[in-house]
Symmetry: C2
Subunit: 336 residues, 2 copies
Amino acid sequence: MVMQVRAVQYGCGPIGCSVARFAAQRSDIEIVGAVDIDQSIAGHDLAEVAGLGKKLGVNISDEADAVLSQTKPDVVFLTTVSSLKVAYPQLEKCIKAGVNVVSSCEELSYPYREEPQLSAELDKLAKANNVTVLATGINPGFIMDAWPLFMTGVCQQVKQVRAVRIQDASTRRGPFQKKIGAGCTTEEFKERVAAGTLRHVGLAESIAMIAGGLGWELDEITTSIEPIVAKVRVKTNFVTVESGQIAGVRQVGRGIRAEKELIILEFEASVGAPQSYDAVYITGVPNMEVTIKGGTHGDISTVAMIVNSVHRVVQAPPGLVTMKDLPVVSTLGADI
Amino acid sequence: MVMQVRAVQYGCGPIGCSVARFAAQRSDIEIVGAVDIDQSIAGHDLAEVAGLGKKLGVNISDEADAVLSQTKPDVVFLTTVSSLKVAYPQLEKCIKAGVNVVSSCEELSYPYREEPQLSAELDKLAKANNVTVLATGINPGFIMDAWPLFMTGVCQQVKQVRAVRIQDASTRRGPFQKKIGAGCTTEEFKERVAAGTLRHVGLAESIAMIAGGLGWELDEITTSIEPIVAKVRVKTNFVTVESGQIAGVRQVGRGIRAEKELIILEFEASVGAPQSYDAVYITGVPNMEVTIKGGTHGDISTVAMIVNSVHRVVQAPPGLVTMKDLPVVSTLGADI
């Protein structure tokens, strides 16, 4: 009953390989091509690079245009960068080849406020080529935007939306622990923040999506970033954080109108956090408090959202869309 | 920025009056007509019957066709009955008048499995008349179907979905306490169950929606109903339940394939329940446990879902749709 979708994996880093592994398991998706500019993996079989444990017969190529024109896929999984400006030429290639896109690009998840001109150009280009473009993931794309918005549907009135994501990074990948600054000194943390290499990308986009859904025109969106300092020594499989060193990062985004904080997003990721959870708090009629016990696993769920969105994107009207514009994205039930 | 919608309230009982009160507060909705067959309220101003505290200038009429043709609304809020068969002629009137419908009719929330022929006819009629038809509410429509499905989007695999709704009815309306059997004897409970007047309608529809979203073809859907017996005396503003009398009702729905319970919905409403909550438990990759503290208020949230869906319904492609087919339904943010 489920429509078959032919997909190209564009970007074969850690997230791209995870997407390929999940997509390859799905009975409704066939991976027909793979693209990456990394010369160390070009020419290799995607299955080998992604650790699939079976042959796909799909070689990674550094020639996106050739792969798209030869394979004529229904969709591209674009998992290359967080920056919309950097992703733009890649998006353009896919769209002009007449291919739908599901991307992990954080800045593309709701780009209308931060990048109005690029958004308008993308939308126009997608419509002209009759394709749909979406960026999604667990955050941005779900936990701090689509999910809180979805929960407001049961309210007659909403005065404030607050979403909290607290993650204990102790059990996550080593690169993720490094990314959030675990084991840094305060000086190193500041340097990495200044360089833009230590941060969760997407708070401003998530705030803009919630405001867009609720019809709130915000005066401004503010974001802050600060270190979480370890109070005791924490040791993971990858890093040891001494007391007084950096355990992780805390970022807060605020959507403000008339000096009121209408939307507050609080993101924390650190090794040794007492417990992981995701929560939405709505002040309104009625008040709502919704909690995901143990939180949502960043890597597993980002990959799930990207792959699970594929049918909705293929079937959606053409243009640039966001998670609030799509019908409910569910997974495919296991074959019992 | 928000489009104005002109609405007719069709059915002016307790839910219809609540819908009218909420809709009348909204800056984006204008109530232009009202219909009810009850001769005791026909001719009265809807505002007076619904207790709006302001004039609407809209008289309740028992002539649906005349109201629809004179007011030419964008949408009808149809809040009359739970049975699709009984609602069908009313739906037909609205559709043939070229008017979109948002209904509280439980059996219409996902009617494809229980009423395949009526569903196909409705869909065809709606498409022929270029209108969209939806039934929604908190349950069915959200807590035990659209919300669990939405939460599966973060999973790579789902083996079982279980949703639990536990309600302490002590603080609800008197008619609701009566509806769930509070204060009955066991004999009376059995008689009312046999007569079909004591039950939550929608478990089968909710199970079918979840199965439809996940692509599961079920062998059967079973439902059970049993009394919750008071262990201690419970006194509310409306009823006193002695120990040993009925405090409320427990209903369980199961979606089964190959003798496995893939979907389990547990609904309990009783006076004196220790705590109210709604929860979704997903067995899969990853497992998920999501809880709404204190639960979701049945009356407030059903009305919210109906009114909040209005723009999505007006904008949707024509046909019969369900909550899993619509983009995220959020409320309108308060004017701060």
